[in-house]
Amino acid sequence: MPNYTIKVNGNSHSVDVSADTPLLWVLRDHLDLVGTKYGCGIALCGTCTVHVNGNPVRSCVMSVGQVKDSEITTIEGLSEDGSHPVQKAWKTVDVPQCGYCQSGQIMSAVALLEKNPNPSEAEIREAMNGNICRCASYQRIHEAVTLAARETQS
């Protein structure tokens, strides 16, 4: 098996996996970073969202071979203790139901607010539309993104 060195949350990791292995499974099965979730494997649900050089990417369709020296950030890398403003907003609004989709939701929201700190309602909906929540916590997701934007502004 080929060996890859990837940078995740500021640390370098070396893994022996086949080149077609999606980043998702490298994170989950080889690096024990299970915050990034599997939901569909075809870039349609958003549960596997991570940041690659600051951009939201569906890690289920990015192979480890494509990562090269990109900087990967996962939910575990947002903060040690849930103190990132988006995580805090998620807690204040008490967004999760089952919780399974929420790390992907949070990663999409963080990426949105980094590019657009003051998004309109339509921009929030647009940016979050790739993330399915089967429990339909959408109303609170919207509320939490709005709150995080407001808190970051002030």
């Binding site: 099965d29 599997y38 939901g39 569909c40 349609l44 849930g82 995580q87 919780g99 399974y100 909906r125």
Partner: protein, 723 residues
Amino acid sequence: MSPKKNDQHFSRRDFMKATSLAGGGLLIGFTLFESCKPGAEPAIDLASLNYNDFNAFIKIADNGAVTIFSPNPEIGQGVKTSMPMIIAEELDVNWEDVFVVQAPLDAKNYDRQVAGGSQSIRHGWEPLRKTGATARQMLVNAAAAQWGVDPSECTSSRGVITNSKGETLTYGDVVNQAAGMEIPEDVKLKSVRDFHIIGQEIPNVDIDEIITGKPLFGLDYKKEGMFYACVARPPAFGQTLDAVDDSEARAISGVQDVVRFGDKVAVIATDTWTAMKGKKALKLSWKSDAALESTEDHHKILTGLLDGKSFETLRKDGNVKKAFSSADFVLERTYESPFLPHNCMEPMNFYADVTSEKIHLVGPIQTPKGTAERVAQVLEREVGDIHLEMTRQGGGFGRRLYGDFVLEAAEISNLSGKPVQVVFSREDDMADGIYRPAIKYRIAASVKDGEVTGYHLKEAAINSNMYGLIPNFFPAGALENYQVDVAKFDSKITTGAWRAPYTNFLAFAEQSFFDELAEMMETDRIQLRLDLLDKVKGTTDDRIQYSPERMQKVIRTAVDKSGWGKAPDGVYQGFSAYYCHNSHVAEVADVVIEDGAPVVKRVVCVVDCGIVVNPLGARNQVEGGVIDGIGHAMYGDFAFSNGAPQSLNFDGYRMIRIKDVPKVETHFIKNTESPTGLGEPTLPPAGAALANAIKAATGKRLYNQPFITELKDLRIPEKEIIG
């Protein structure tokens, strides 16, 4: 079951055991759900308390910190938060001092450990209160003994006990003495007005772990030396496995083994991706002895059943035939719905390690007891060999009531001699479902002299029919002539419970029907429902469990809160009200026309679910149920062709997304009735509220789900909107 009778006394001695902890502190074990069974034998030798002999625990440390081991699996309805809240309330401590931990479970000793049917809170309410109250009394008794006074001279508040002289002891001060004392036989429950935790907005107890991505779910489970297994199953219902060529799969680096069991083949590998690849590399041939089923066949079969005569009658009052023959007119309508997959966000999975000594099972399951028994049976082992741990569950919706995936994991581990986690891909999850069955309803009602005189409901369903008290739901009890008939077709496609079984579609049919009936009768659609409910008042029929008074109240409140009848120009409203899972719900949907198509903007949802234990979690459930109801009514479609499902992932199966979502406004009716569940009851009425609003906006009445198919060719020019 009324909390108003708070002077009731309960015998607890057989069901609780207290012991002191080695490092200081008190551990109280109790057997939840078994505790109210009269004459039940304690499952253990009370002299030697063993952690596994009870299914739930309260630990009180000598610093006063309280840990509650919550016995019910968390699938997203918030019971892991709300059930401990009830214990903490009666224990009379500050919520800030309470930690909640999922109790690991022993298959032998727990009974109702099922998160299904929105019943966790309803069944847990009294036993949980009694448990907390008993623990509180033990601590008070211990303090009284220390002071040498009678316990009746002591009071407790937020973890502090006070005697008549004003002296105080904290719970932590007396835990060691309490451990040695008798379990009090008679305890008093708090009065509802003294509640200080119940009714507060308490965040989900797992919130910090969820937002930081900590391992919580079944798929997150790791054990040194474990493998991953992906399973190839028959691609069509009705097929069996013929031949297996696994040479290519075995050649993949990382594939450890391939095992065949029944009509399935599992590829075991060092990581999930390799197992998925290995499964794809299998060359399998399948055969079928009989014809394979398609959706068109089901349409014909179900229609044939509705037109036919082979019904089972579930309720019959008076004579509907007679009412129909003497009516001014009879309205008859047929409604149809497709199969639906559950699509839990976390696909099915389970870990199993089967050795000659023990069977270790870990993962998300709603029915641990029944599942453990089946595993024992299939592997010809003792249930006592099984240790089953439940993880947090990435959604349930009924799917995780079925332990098929646990059995697979156990069989694969048994055959391969390896610890394995079975992982369903999304495609497996959709293709190997236990679906909401396709159903057709035909409803007919007769009207004479402006009154509804008869109502006849017929159900034709795949595999199984409505059950329990559903045939006695509204309008049963309101009409002299009323009949419910059901028929079914036995299919090879596996079906089962799906969030609010039967009512998830029946409510749409019934509440759409009443809307249309009111139009035909040229009467007010709300008044028609209120008048019918009037007739149910004072009923002595104990099969009628919905309350006409509570139903009228949610209806009137929804009218008021939604501004019913006063919507601004261009906003069209639809009404729906339904009782199920012991809760009463009314909903009003607001629809506007955007780009020629109806779009739902707001749903006002009024719920009577008794005392709301945790309003923060409860509103989340309400919002989720309403949006889920709208999403599936609008988009949910799942067809079969020659036994094989026609969509396998989110490209072919549309789920509701944030752009499609209306604003949901939730209102709870305040009362002191025992709490009823919320995981399900807000879903059923949503589809009809939306359909009735779409009718108001477009003139088009919807009879079939998903609506999107029926609305495909509909384009409303802005000016020609029908009011």
